[in-house]
């Protein structure tokens, strides 16, 4: 018995060591780098980035996308998952098509939308052909911030709704049918059944999905960069600029720490707000 008790630990040891070395250690280094400036421990790097003209924009822009994209994605993915329940033939094919954006890299997704939305893109071609515009119309410039924001939301929505969907579909598949049938017996409308039965039962899946999506959305980069460039600074693109363009690694690390703290806070918030009762875990 003595030896079998150790087996689980032995089995997870490689992954623990791997994560500690390749994620834990760089994390410690990043935090240290963020608080080290001009040869002493200080918050100088944070002061430096807070003083920068893009700092407020980066924070506002990031949240402007996250607070819209995550709830929208949840709603859309829930709708898709519910529809999928009622499809009998070709369900797998539909699911497969819906998850295609998952297999595309962020940068490629950004370039796809750039091809649609740039001055000579598909959108303008269509609008021109049906007579709505008389020449190339710009959507992605500093003069059209609302359209640029909408384009980024749209691209993020297209790109990452599938991950929410996949998690929700997996959750729905294991829901016991009895509750729904019981609700039917008591005369619940489909809408009541969805709100009172399905949604509460799905809470653990929803929790994981929004947590994952929020953290990933806070880290958005490639799509924003390809569509917005300098016109739409976000937290991670600013970290990238400080690291590579300005070559100030401390300031870049400070941005990384901010992204980490915001993600951590969001995760804790979800754990608290979407608390799953013990018996449902």
């Amino acid at each position: 018995m003595q030896t079998t008790r150790h087996i689980p630990y032995l089995l997870i040891a490689p992954s623990v060591v791997f994560l500690a070395l390749l994620i834990g250690w760089p994390l410690v280094q990043t935090v240290a780098l963020a608080f080290w400036s001009d040869g002493a421990w200080s918050i100088g790097n944070f002061r430096r980035i807070a003083d920068d003209l893009n700092f407020n924009d980066a924070i506002i822009n990031t949240f402007k996308v996250v607070v819209v994209v995550v709830p929208l994605q949840l709603a859309v993915a829930l709708g898709m998952a519910m529809m999928l329940r009622h499809i009998r033939f070709g369900r797998d094919i539909v699911l497969w098509i819906w998850s295609i954006p998952l297999g595309i890299s962020d940068l490629a997704a950004g370039l796809v939308w750039l091809a649609i939305l740039n001055d000579r893109g598909y959108l303008n071609t269509i609008l021109y052909n049906i007579g709505l515009i008389s020449g190339p119309e710009s959507w992605l410039t500093y003069e059209t911030p609302a359209a640029l924001w909408a384009a980024i939301v749209l691209a993020e929505l297209w790109r990452a709704t599938a991950i929410v969907l996949v998690i929700l579909v997996a959750g729905i598949q294991v829901l016991p049918k009895e509750y729904g049938e019981a609700a039917d017996v008591f005369g619940a409308t489909p809408w009541q059944r969805f709100l009172r039965v399905t949604l509460p039962l799905l809470k653990p899946s929803i929790q994981s999905a929004v947590m994952l999506r929020t953290v990933l959305a806070l880290e958005m980069f490639a799509i924003v960069l390809s569509l917005g460039g300098r016109n739409f600074p976000v937290l991670v693109s600013e970290a990238f600029n400080w690291q590579y363009t300005n070559q100030d690694y401390g300031a870049a690390a400070a941005y990384a720490v901010i992204v980490m703290l915001v993600s951590l806070f969001a995760t804790l918030l979800y754990l608290r707000v979407l608390r799953v009762p013990q018996e449902q875990r």
């Binding site: 032995l10 710009s138 460039g229």
Partner: protein
């Protein structure tokens, strides 16, 4: 534990295989020539297949982003494994390597090549103001303007395209907008663009006669006010443009400023549709900023002798002309360009020649002595542009704010002034 060690050795094997594959056909004893220039795939391939074809040794020509150069040198030094022998990069990119003590002085090579006719001005730059030759000039280029011929009828009356002023450029852009309804001036102000060089080497010297010392002078205030006026005729997509050849070819822009190499594709593809001309002049003259790429040898070069032989080869007159033909850079030697040079490159070369020879030319060099702070130096100019031109801030306020940032960069690096600013004792000061 045995299983774990199996897994580990399997993983190591996989990494080893991947590493081997990534190396391609290169051999371990090849001379590694790392370059931040000639990065596009076709150009890099021309270096391998055409320019290096007649060189006696085996060369592994690798390219990387300029930002990665210093990172890579630091990593190799920390890791203790040195692979790079020869570095080809711009003057400003080599500077942090020289100040970081990553480069081998090449005084002997400079003496050996003294008979080749390398332009003395360029050779001097390779000393970074010090005693030792740190790099040998390799290729040169500069910034020019290119216009679509459709724009020429709109040139203001009496304007000579080869002696344009900024007022005339604005009037030109306005005339085009009045007639076509489109804003067809263009600048490379996107994330990949070189807009900061326009401010450092062209706008500031032309309007204020300096760059750092005159950063917040009354001349600078009127310059930004005037440039904000000109920006009304600039295509708003400019903040996304990286290489101006693309909007020129698509017709989104009719008149553009950029690095000659970044517009050459347009000139080469449709030489009959475009004209090249020198950038405009301001009240103080016409700014002119040569771009110099140099060849330097790594201090810990695995093959320093091979690197020297390769530099000697690349600076032969015939190799220099071959390089001009195959790439978008011009020779650093006093050699005549061959008559059968392609018309696009010749147009660009002529425009550069005119800019260089203009009687009111104010030559600037790329920032010197900033080391790894050169990115923050550029940021000051881009931020000022963003504040005043894109966000409409009051020029005096924006300049006061950014002057403090600029002074901080100069104090941290203790960089003395470089031309066109008058030379200084100690760190250059914003007046």
């Amino acid at each position: 534990m045995r299983k774990i060690s199996h897994v580990l050795s399997g993983a190591l094997l996989a990494v080893g295989i991947a590493g081997g594959l990534a190396g391609g056909a290169a051999r371990a004893d090849d001379l590694v020539f790392m370059s931040t220039q000639l990065r596009p795939v076709e150009e890099a391939q021309k270096v391998r297949d055409v320019i290096l074809k007649d060189f006696a040794g085996h060369v592994n020509f690798v390219v990387d982003q300029p930002q990665q150069l210093l990172v890579r040198f630091r990593a190799e030094q920390q890791g203790g494994s040195h692979t790079i022998s020869l570095v080809g990069a711009l003057h400003g990119e080599l500077e942090p390597l020289a100040s970081g003590n990553f480069l081998m002085p090449v005084d002997d090579l400079a003496a050996q090549l003294s008979g080749r006719g390398i332009l003395p001005k360029l050779m001097t730059l390779g000393r970074f103001g010090g005693e030792h030759q740190m790099y040998i000039p390799w290729m040169q280029a500069s910034y020019i303007m290119v216009a679509n011929k459709q724009a020429l009828p709109f040139l203001p009356a009496g304007a000579d395209i080869n002696k344009l002023t900024y007022d005339q450029l604005a009037a030109w852009g306005k005339a085009i907008q009045d007639k076509t309804g489109k804003r067809l001036l263009g600048f490379p102000a996107g994330p990949q663009g070189l807009m900061h060089r326009f401010f450092e080497g062209y706008l500031y010297p032309s309007f204020t006669g300096g760059v750092v010392t005159t950063f917040r002078s009354p001349d600078a205030v009127s310059m930004w006010t005037q440039f904000r006026g000109l920006w009304k005729y600039v295509n708003p997509n400019s903040t996304s443009y990286g290489f101006m050849q693309e909007p020129l070819l698509s017709g989104d822009v009719w008149i553009a400023f950029d690095h000659e190499a970044r517009m050459l594709d347009a000139l080469r593809k449709r030489p009959d549709d475009f004209v090249a001309f020198p950038p405009p002049a301001g009240p103080h003259g016409a700014g002119f900023m040569p771009v110099i790429a140099g060849l330097a040898i790594s201090l810990d070069a695995p093959d320093a002798a091979g690197a020297k032989a390769l530099i000697e080869y690349l600076l032969r007159p015939e190799t220099q002309i071959l390089t001009a033909r195959s790439t978008s850079f011009l020779p650093v030697l006093k050699v005549g360009l061959p008559a059968d040079l392609d018309p696009g490159l010749r147009m660009a070369a002529d425009a550069i020649q005119q800019a260089q020879a203009a009687p009111d030319a104010i030559a600037s060099v790329l920032p010197i002595g900033l080391g790894d702070k050169s990115g923050e130096f550029d940021k000051v100019f881009l931020d000022t542009f963003q504040l005043i031109v894109l966000r409409g801030a009051k020029p005096e306020d924006a300049l006061a704010r950014e002057a403090a940032q600029l002074q901080q960069v100069l104090d941290q690096t203790q960089a003395p002034c470089w031309s066109p600013d008058p030379s200084s004792q100690g760190a250059c000061k914003v007046k």
